[in-house]
Amino acid sequence: MLNACREECVYKPKSLAGVGFYTVVNGTVVEAGVNLAGLMGVGREDSLLYSNRTNIRSVSLPMNGMAEETGFILVFDEGADTVRFSYEVFPWFLSPECGFILNFELTGALYTTNRIDSVVIVVPKITSFDDTNIRIYH
């Protein structure tokens, strides 16, 4: 009976990893945009998440719920880097109407350093809130 009366799922958020780009100037951490020619998942090079963005300061990355690790290729004007994130997947019950979404808890990051200086996980839990989970220093 309740099912017949139950409201439809109006909005089902997604849990994306928030990534911010930073640099260090005179010992001070500051946001610093990058020119991104392209950003795609490892194994999904045919599908760009971002392309031809100038002075972009942040990106949102979808982790693969069916894997324990997801890699991304960031193509900068000056070269490309690959970043691989490892994590645990946590199905999160949102509501009877919307069912489950996937949250993640980051456990590590491996990366190349052509353009990137370092990658720091600042908020390990990836939820549907708009947190900056990862800082990429360049």
Binding site: L2, G41, G65, G99, L102
Partner: protein, 223 residues
């Protein structure tokens, strides 16, 4: 709307039973007639609102037994124990939550010269809930859809209640009762990977406070 329906049903019962209650001869301590405030005995009851709730929310069912006994003039010790189950079977998931709960506390009666009780009470509630899910399906636009399951996991929660209590004697030792409850969760567990949408004995756990309304049938056993 559901709570209003429950309240309306209870109000109707109150109106229907009102004449019977008021037709009773009030106890008179001066004449040696028993006053419930000083009655020694155990009153056991069954929550009647839970089976009625199931007509409104068929995926949730449970049962609750309650008991009270005199611990002093006008004061009663109260224990309420029950179990609750929620089963959701949807195309994109199957969720099964089940748990037991216990509330303990006391009531103070303000009503004199009658076996009826009108009073207030306080409770501490404890629940232990197990949750598991199967056939979870989540769309992932970029990586392909997710399918998986959630292993069984236990959650222990505690809360406090203030209660408005009415118990009306229908016939000798047989009572109907109504409780209006205000509930507040205690000891925030902080961030968790398991949201408490369903806390047995408390209700929806996505808010820290809630109200509830229950009605009961009791039988009082004298010692």
């Amino acid at each position: 709307m559901i709570r209003i329906s429950g309240f309306t049903i209870s109000l109707l019962l109150l109106i229907l039973t009102g004449p019977a209650v008021s037709a009773q001869v009030h106890d008179d301590p001066a004449s040696g007639i028993e006053d419930d405030r000083y009655y020694d005995g155990l009153r056991l009851g069954l929550n009647l609102s839970l089976p009625l709730w199931q007509f409104v929310v068929p995926e949730i069912y449970g049962a609750e037994l309650v008991g009270d006994f005199k611990v002093g003039p006008e004061y009663f010790g109260v224990a309420e124990a029950g179990y609750s189950v929620r089963k959701l079977d949807e195309p994109s998931y199957r969720l099964h939550e089940k748990g037991v709960y216990l509330r303990i506390g006391g009531d103070k009666s303000f009503y004199k010269y009658n076996n009826d009780i009108f009073g207030v009470g306080a409770r501490l509630g404890f629940s232990l809930r197990d949750r598991s899910a199967a056939d979870i399906f989540v769309e992932q636009d970029y990586w392909g859809d997710y399918s998986g399951a959630l292993d069984s996991g236990l959650s222990f929660r505690q809360w406090a209640e203030v209660v408005l209590v009415i118990k009306a004697e229908l016939s000798s030792n047989l009572f109907l009762g109504w409780n209006l409850r205000g509930k507040v969760l205690l000891f925030d567990r902080g961030d968790s990977h398991m949201a408490d949408r369903f806390i047995p004995g408390f209700g929806a756990g996505d808010t820290k406070s809630t109200v509830g309304f229950d009605f009961y049938i009791y039988y009082r056993f004298g010692f």
